[in-house]
């Protein structure tokens, strides 16, 4: 299976939903879109086998992928919507409070240009309640970045490591994220990203504001942040219209396209699995 299918424990969530339990997820016959995306749903820069099915989040992404030459493109909805189906009613935890704020991150190979201090000031001015800042693993590991946010009086967390080449994937990544989102009233970021859509789906009021922190080597193929602001202006600002945001998130996460377990097993190539091999021996 493509290692990107394991990012954020996506394959683990899908395996649980498909009724395979907590076993190691079997190989997926296709590529699962691993993040909200304004392109063809696949991560640029990753090598992919031609004609292998792309399992995408939304109908809009499917149309776009087809238009740029991808075939075998299927809409199944985001793994996060499967997680929501697995955990529809979490134990009604303490009352939602404050904001979970996701400063935009690049991944390991990218370097973010921008001023964290400025962003912190903006967050302080805007957010009415306590703020939890969720840093990406890479930045969480950078002491000085973490300190900046801690000194501002924010709670700083990290959902885990998304994994790379099947190594160190945190299978609980998405679970942790959902738990955190459900603790907060608002979700915010300096860019429209997966986390905002997850937050809306998890019942938070969204906000997108602040310096979008352009990547030094950002790929302009699909229009970048400028296009995101043009196409989804309703989701930008310190306060946005909630019903509109909910409808957009529903479409972008493909919530209505969520498959049933049997349907998912067929689409991922999990319908005729060989007997599970014993991974561990006693000695």
């Amino acid at each position: 299976m493509h290692h990107a299918n394991h990012f954020y424990g996506h394959a683990h969530v899908l395996a649980r939903y498909a009724g395979l339990g907590d076993r190691h997820p079997p190989r997926i016959n296709g590529y699962v879109q691993h993040g909200w995306n304004i392109g063809d749903g696949l991560a640029p820069g990753h090598p992919y086998a031609d004609r292998t099915p792309s399992l995408l989040w939304s109908e809009q992404t499917r149309r776009r992928a087809w238009s740029v030459g991808r075939r075998n493109v299927v809409v199944i909805g985001a793994p996060f919507t499967y997680l929501l189906a697995l955990r529809p009613e979490d134990p009604p935890a303490q009352e939602r409070e404050g904001t979970i704020w996701y400063p935009f991150h690049g991944w390991e190979g990218q370097h973010v240009k921008g001023d964290h201090r400025e962003l912190i000031a903006r967050i302080r001015d805007t957010e009415p309640g306590p703020v939890t800042v969720c840093l990406y693993w890479h930045e969480y590991g950078m002491r000085h970045v973490r300190r900046l946010y801690e000194r501002a009086g924010f709670r700083v967390i990290c959902h885990g490591y998304r994994g790379h080449w099947w190594k160190d994937t945190d299978p609980e990544f998405l679970d942790k994220q959902l738990t955190e989102l459900r603790r907060h009233k608002r979700v915010a970021s300096n860019r429209l990203t997966s986390a905002i859509f997850y937050g809306i789906a998890a019942g938070c009021e969204p906000a997108v504001y602040g310096d979008p922190m352009i990547l030094s080597n950002e790929d302009p193929t699909f229009g970048g942040t400028a296009r995101i602001r043009r196409q989804w202006p309703e989701l930008h600002g310190a306060a946005v219209d909630l019903p509109t945001a909910v409808a957009i998130a529903r479409a972008e996460l493909g919530t209505d396209h969520r498959c049933t377990p049997a349907e998912l097993r067929e689409l991922l190539g999990w319908a005729n699995l060989p007997e599970e091999e014993e991974d561990d021996s006693d000695d």
């Binding site: 296709g30 004609r51 209505d256 396209h257 049933t260 349907e263 067929e266 190539g269 319908a271």
Partner: protein, 609 residues
């Protein structure tokens, strides 16, 4: 040539007969099919009828209530039909007695086959004039005209102008000015000959053995009509048997229907016209059928003709007293263990309105409209479930309600033709899986674009469709549905045990890269080949990718092994290993003791039980 074989002098030979020739159709429909049903409705009891040209002998049987004179060019045909007719005139149209007129003249093989090779040719107009003269004032003419641009020609691998068989001593086509070439021209000619056209039916899938006769005007307006959709599809699917065609005739016919052009593309038309003046039966043309269609396979039990009449309150099933009505009920359901049987009595009351579910699903799949697919399939599954008994099993027509026999009108679902019924009840999910499997197989083998990946097989797509319908089907249920489908299809086609087993195997093996079962169309064969090619390309790319990945993982493994080797040679590793050895030995010993204890206890436990 003598007339000794002619019974009771019924055969007259005015000259022009063809002695070594036969026109009688080799392929015949049960009880003369829809044409005989139409003729029986048009001809009043005791009427004098002229059958001009060759007709199925069964048609004469259906006109037993009338006095029938046949005009035939073939002498052997005359001998074959003499028993059934009051009189047979053998020769060209010139042989008709000048002083005789008829209440109804039927030329349902067209006018070309009325003319003999002998004698002077009258041409299409000449023959028409002669036949019109034989219609008494107030009488009727039922005439067939073949369409030079008909569906049969569009799908044929042989161009019409290249025919070389024995009947092609002249070839009629659009180039012949004397020959009408469309409905309007035909209407003009009939009017010009002094007749008043009353009704026109489009004949599918070919003029000679039409299994469907549909009112042409209604057909022009009936783009969204589920009945026409199902009848046209049923008539054209597999109509050309083992012959290779250019494209799927059923697809073409249904496309023509939706474009309002099904009457224009009909292989032939049957037009009914009346000669003005004279006494006319007041109810003569009052309630002519909107549709007549054969159901079931010729020669199989349950074959019959569906009749649809147009009432002020809407379309309703006509009570068609087919000769087969008695035999079908006798054959069903206790006399045999066939999977299905036909009960013509189920056809009464209004014809359900709405569009055919199969068409709506295909359209949504082509447009990748998953929301509509979900709504339709949810509705279908919910409606099926509502028909089930307390035990969740479906009986009768509902058990056989696959998407090509279900119409949808808004939120309402209904079986279109409820006369076919399952002998045994089917579990609800098997009946649903059968309907979905049939649709999945048609979608994939038909080469339709759809919103799913090429990696799904037919059973897989059936499960996915089940998911959209809100029912998690498993593959075992789908396999059971395919077995049920094989048994039902075998009954409809009258297969023996051996061919039945072969069919079951064939259906189970249907793959998305196959052309449709039983079809031989170039377009579909080419599409199947393209799908195969695409699949091979996909697999080749996957193999390349896997190979590269394997190489990189092997390299990673070698590095890891080197590291392990290096570390296991280190002093700290050796010291550590020495330290844990007693613990490992103790663990092993404990496990052996546990094993011994367990084996010692096991027989004792068995004894206690």
């Amino acid at each position: 040539m003598t007339t000794e074989t002619a019974p009771a002098g019924r055969i007259t030979l005015p000259g022009g007969e063809m002695l070594a020739w036969s026109d009688l159709p080799k392929e015949r429909l049960a009880d003369g099919g829809p044409l005989a049903a139409l003729a029986a409705r048009i001809v009043p009891p005791g009427a004098r009828v002229l059958l001009a040209g060759p007709h199925d002998p069964a048609l004469l049987d259906r006109l037993a209530h009338a006095e029938v004179t046949c005009l035939l060019r073939s002498h052997p045909d005359a001998v074959a039909l003499a028993q059934r007719a009051a009189r047979v005139i053998v020769g060209g149209p010139a042989g008709l007695p000048d002083d005789e007129t008829y209440d109804v003249v039927i030329a349902a093989a067209g006018l070309d086959q009325v003319e003999s090779v002998e004698g002077t040719r009258l041409g299409w107009n000449g023959v028409l004039t002669r036949l019109v003269a034989a219609v008494r004032p107030g009488g009727a003419l039922l005439l067939r005209l073949d369409n030079p641009l008909g569906l049969h020609r569009l799908v044929s691998t042989t161009p019409w102008h290249a025919a070389r068989d024995d009947s092609a001593w002249v070839i009629g086509g659009v180039l012949d000015q004397a020959h009408p070439a469309n409905r309007d021209q035909l209407r003009e000619r009939l009017t010009g000959a002094g007749l008043r056209p009353r009704a026109c039916w489009a004949a599918y899938p070919d003029g000679a053995t039409a299994t469907a006769l549909l009112d042409a005007d209604q057909l022009d307006r009936g783009a969204g009509c589920g009945l026409f959709d199902a009848v046209l599809h049923g008539a054209c699917a597999g109509a050309f048997g083992a012959a290779t065609v250019l494209q799927d005739p059923a697809r073409l016919a249904v496309d023509a229907l939706h474009a309002g052009r099904a009457a224009d593309l009909a292989p032939a038309w049957l037009m009914l016209a009346r000669r003005p003046g004279g006494p006319t039966d007041p109810g003569a043309d009052g309630n002519l059928p909107v549709a007549l269609a054969q159901t079931g396979q010729s020669g199989q039990p349950g074959t019959g003709v569906l009749e649809v009449l147009d009432d002020p309150s809407g379309w309703r099933w006509g009570h068609h007293a087919g000769a087969d009505a008695g035999t079908t009920t006798a054959a069903a359901p206790f006399a045999s263990r066939e999977a299905a049987y036909r009960d013509p009595a189920a056809l009464s009351g209004p014809v359900p309105t709405g569009r055919l579910l199969h068409t709506l699903l295909l359209d949504a799949a082509l447009r990748r409209d998953l929301a509509t697919l979900r709504t339709l399939l949810h509705g279908y599954a919910g409606w099926l479930a509502g028909q089930a008994g307390a035990d969740g099993r479906l009986a009768g027509a509902a058990a056989l309600a696959s998407t090509d026999n279900v119409v949808v009108d808004g939120e309402r679902y209904a079986v279109l033709d409820p006369s076919w019924r399952a002998t045994d009840t089917l579990p609800g999910d098997v009946a649903l899986a059968r309907g979905l499997w049939r649709f999945a197989a048609a979608l994939l083998t038909g080469g339709y674009a759809h919103p799913w990946s090429s990696t799904l097989d037919v059973a897989g797509l059936t499960v996915v469709l089940g998911g959209l319908a809100g029912h998690d089907l498993d593959r075992a249920t789908v396999a059971e549905a395919v077995r049920a489908e094989a048994a039902i299809a075998a009954t409809l086609h009258g297969l023996d045990a051996e061919r039945r087993a072969a069919l079951a195997t064939e259906l189970q093996a249907v793959a998305p890269t196959d052309p449709p079962v039983g079809a031989h169309s170039y377009q579909q064969l080419r599409e199947a080949w393209l799908r195969q090619r695409e699949e091979i390309s996909r697999l080749a790319a996957l193999t390349r990718w896997t190979d590269e990945l394997l190489t990189s993982r092997e390299r990673a493994l070698r590095r890891a092994e080197a590291k392990i080797g290096l570390l296991s040679g280190s002093i700290s590793y050796r010291v550590g290993r020495l330290a844990i050895t007693p613990a490992r030995l103790a663990k092993r010993g404990a496990r052996a003791a546990k094993r011994r204890a367990r084996s010692a206890l096991a027989p004792r436990q068995e004894e206690q039980q």
